[in-house]
């Protein structure tokens, strides 16, 4: 009911609104992704790498001090401990293996905050494949450490100089590259966005998160399933990962946190579900921020990874169907939540992730509720922003 149907739609969202030039690539992927990724060989190789290379399973950590402070049972799913520092690598490991099986020889990707770019450059180094990362010219400036990491890993970083020079434009450039290199290249998209089958494929690779949560919670808590799963939503991949195995179990509440930027109604925001309307972005029908004319508008958030004018079609459907509760959180509240987690638990979260933690100030939970929050990434890449914000 909440997952993708055979036509690639989540309710009325999804599909593959792509130029004819992309059709062969997308068709090839659609026809093969399940066959390959569900095969025993693939699964073995995928899980071996997740274990030995990425460091999975990531812990499910009971946060005693946050739980005390907010009078509920808070568990942190530690994706920040993944190799390269965020959940993004779960997906890139999956896609690079798939690309290999499809005989691809070259990888491209887009990146905003640089986390997906680093995760892609990493798996390309691992597999010895050439790699081109598109990144908005503005993001290249504000995420310098991640640019350096990509270069260390042997990737070519290409500045997207078009449009607003941020994530959406980097995505356009990556799609253009794919159009121009239809045969030997695989495009590793970094979130549950883009034309079908990307949203479903990425969600499946990320679903390892909810599978682990399910198992770990049984071992570690008095409940066999969470009362809530909670995540920030940029494109929506870390959220999809922690929701996945709970999607159809409506006893498990789903909470999605968007970036309100300076405030939902300030004109500087990325709260897509509040500000968006149905439309088409990067090949999929979903909710997106646009003007009356259907021109995509530029979102704003202090965190480069949430600074995206759309959300994945799965999330659009979760919103429209009211399966998920959507909350939006300002820059300031996110920064304070990041500060609080650092000081209370010794974990400095990515600013994207910090948005999810700001929920506890806005919304009450019952003392007995088990709330599992996806700690999607660590804050190393964001130290400059934290330093400036808090005057450290």
């Amino acid at each position: 009911m909440y997952n993708v149907n055979e036509k690639g739609f989540y309710g009325e969202f999804g599909g593959a609104f792509i130029p004819e030039m992309l059709k062969p690539n997308v068709d090839e992927l659609r026809e093969n992704y399940l066959k390959i990724s569900e095969s025993e060989d693939f699964q073995r190789e995928f899980h071996q790498l997740l274990k030995d290379y990425v460091g999975r399973p990531t812990p499910l950590y009971f946060s005693k001090r946050l739980s005390e402070k907010y009078q509920t049972q808070i568990y942190l799913k530690r994706e920040d401990l993944c190799h390269t520092g965020a959940h993004k690598v779960n997906n890139t490991i999956g896609q690079i293996l798939l690309a290999q099986k499809l005989g691809k020889k070259r990888i491209i990707a887009e990146t905003g905050a640089g986390q997906h770019g680093v995760a892609t450059a990493t798996v390309c180094a691992l597999m010895g494949m050439p790699c081109v990362i598109y990144m908005g010219a503005i993001d290249i400036k504000r995420q310098a450490p991640n640019v350096a990491r990509m270069k260390m890993l042997g990737a070519k970083v290409v500045a997207a100089e078009s449009g607003s020079k941020t994530l959406k434009d980097a995505t356009n450039e990556a799609i253009r590259d794919w159009i121009n290199n239809p045969e030997d290249t695989h495009y590793i998209i970094g979130s549950v966005v883009g034309p079908h089958p990307f949203p479903d494929m990425v969600a499946r690779f990320q679903s390892v998160i909810s599978k682990e949560v399910m198992k770990q919670l049984k071992e570690q808590s008095h409940k066999s399933k969470p009362d809530y799963v909670l995540a920030c939503v940029g494109g929506g991949s870390n959220a999809a990962g922690i929701y996945y195995d709970f999607l159809e179990d409506t006893e498990v509440g789903i909470i999605a946190v968007e970036a309100a930027g300076k405030g939902v109604s300030t004109g500087e925001s990325a709260a897509t579900s509040q500000l968006g309307r149905q439309g088409i972005i990067h090949g999929s029908k979903t909710l997106l921020m646009q003007n009356a004319d259907g021109q995509i508008t530029e979102p704003y958030s202090i965190s480069a990874g949430l600074d995206y004018p759309g959300i994945g079609p799965m999330h659009a459907h979760l919103y429209a169907s009211k399966r998920a509760e959507f909350i939006s959180v300002t820059d300031d509240d996110a920064m304070q939540a990041g500060w609080e987690l650092s000081q209370l638990e010794g974990i400095i979260p990515a600013i994207e992730t910090a948005h999810a933690f700001a929920v506890f100030k806005e919304r009450k939970f019952e003392p007995d509720d088990v709330v599992v929050i996806n700690l999607s990434g660590r804050g190393d890449k964001d130290l400059n922003t934290y330093m400036e914000y808090f005057n450290l």
Partner: protein, 271 residues
């Protein structure tokens, strides 16, 4: 009086689409793409007039989009500039509202699906048809989706859906598109690429042109992407009914302005 004449003209159009008629001409067709509202917001109509005066066969009016992912840098930049100039769907429609008083050659609107969707697909079709537009090219409106959801809207308004094919499009699919394209043309993308990214034609492309030729399609093909001068125009049209020039025209416009149009077109026809 004028209004009644205009309506009659429209009625006539509904009976025999200008594209269909043009495709029956004996010569190779030259079609030009330009971005509406570029270089200046109010240039749209004047460019159309000059193109017609230069004996261009057909024009694609680009409706600018913020995220034109099938286009290369030249058309992207012109779109960004046009949007900055203030172009919008409504503004374009207002600019060309009376266009059929001046322009007789077939006119096609080329854009992306999202602005059309926001406008309302049916309404969009109706309004462009009322203006006298003959067909639409929407690169990110997939053929199968169009077939299922929007074919009727097009037909009710006597609008042609111009479908792209590429070197990677399967023969099977091409034959099916051929069947559905009726009296329009197939937009034959010279290579798998975004606009403006080709430098002349390689043997590979010529082979592809020939291969498509060998299918003996009922629908004429017009080649797009990579045509920029007399040589590439001749190559492209040696296997197809015509060719479309986009990026090269925009580049010329941004260098030489509207006064460069006539010379540019003459050069394509006769170097």
């Amino acid at each position: 009086m004028q209004l009644i004449m205009f309506k009659k003209l429209c009625l006539y159009n509904r009976n025999m689409n200008r594209i269909t008629k043009k495709l029956k001409a004996p010569h190779k067709l030259l079609s030009i793409y330009f971005t509406a509202g570029y270089p200046k917001l109010e240039d749209t109509v004047e460019i159309l007039k000059r193109l017609q005066d230069s004996d261009v066969d057909m024009v694609e009016i680009g409706l600018p989009y913020s995220d034109p992912l099938a286009d290369g840098p030249t058309i992207q930049q012109s779109s960004t500039q046009a949007l900055k100039n203030g172009i919008s769907t409504k503004k374009l429609f207002a600019q060309i509202q009376d266009i059929r008083q001046h322009i007789e050659i077939p006119l096609i609107v080329m854009g992306y699906f999202n602005p059309m969707l926001q406008y309302g697909v049916s309404q969009f079709c109706k309004d462009v048809s009322d203006i006298g537009i003959d067909g639409l090219i929407m690169p990110d409106l997939p053929y199968d989706y169009w077939l299922e959801h929007h074919k009727d809207d097009y037909e009710h308004n006597n609008l042609k859906h111009i479908q792209l094919i590429t070197p990677q499009t399967s023969k099977e699919r091409i034959l099916e598109i051929d069947k559905q394209s009726e009296d329009a043309f197939i937009y034959m993308v010279s290579s798998s690429s975004t606009t403006g990214s080709q430098i002349g034609f390689a043997q590979e492309q010529l082979d592809y042109f020939e291969r498509i030729g060998s299918y003996n399609l009922q629908t004429p093909q017009i080649v797009g992407f990579g045509i920029k001068d007399n040589e590439t125009f001749s190559q492209a049209t040696s296997h197809a009914k015509g060719a479309i020039i986009g990026s090269a025209f925009i580049k010329m416009l941004s260098k030489r302005g509207l006064n460069g149009i006539d010379g540019f077109i003459k050069n394509i026809r006769q170097p």
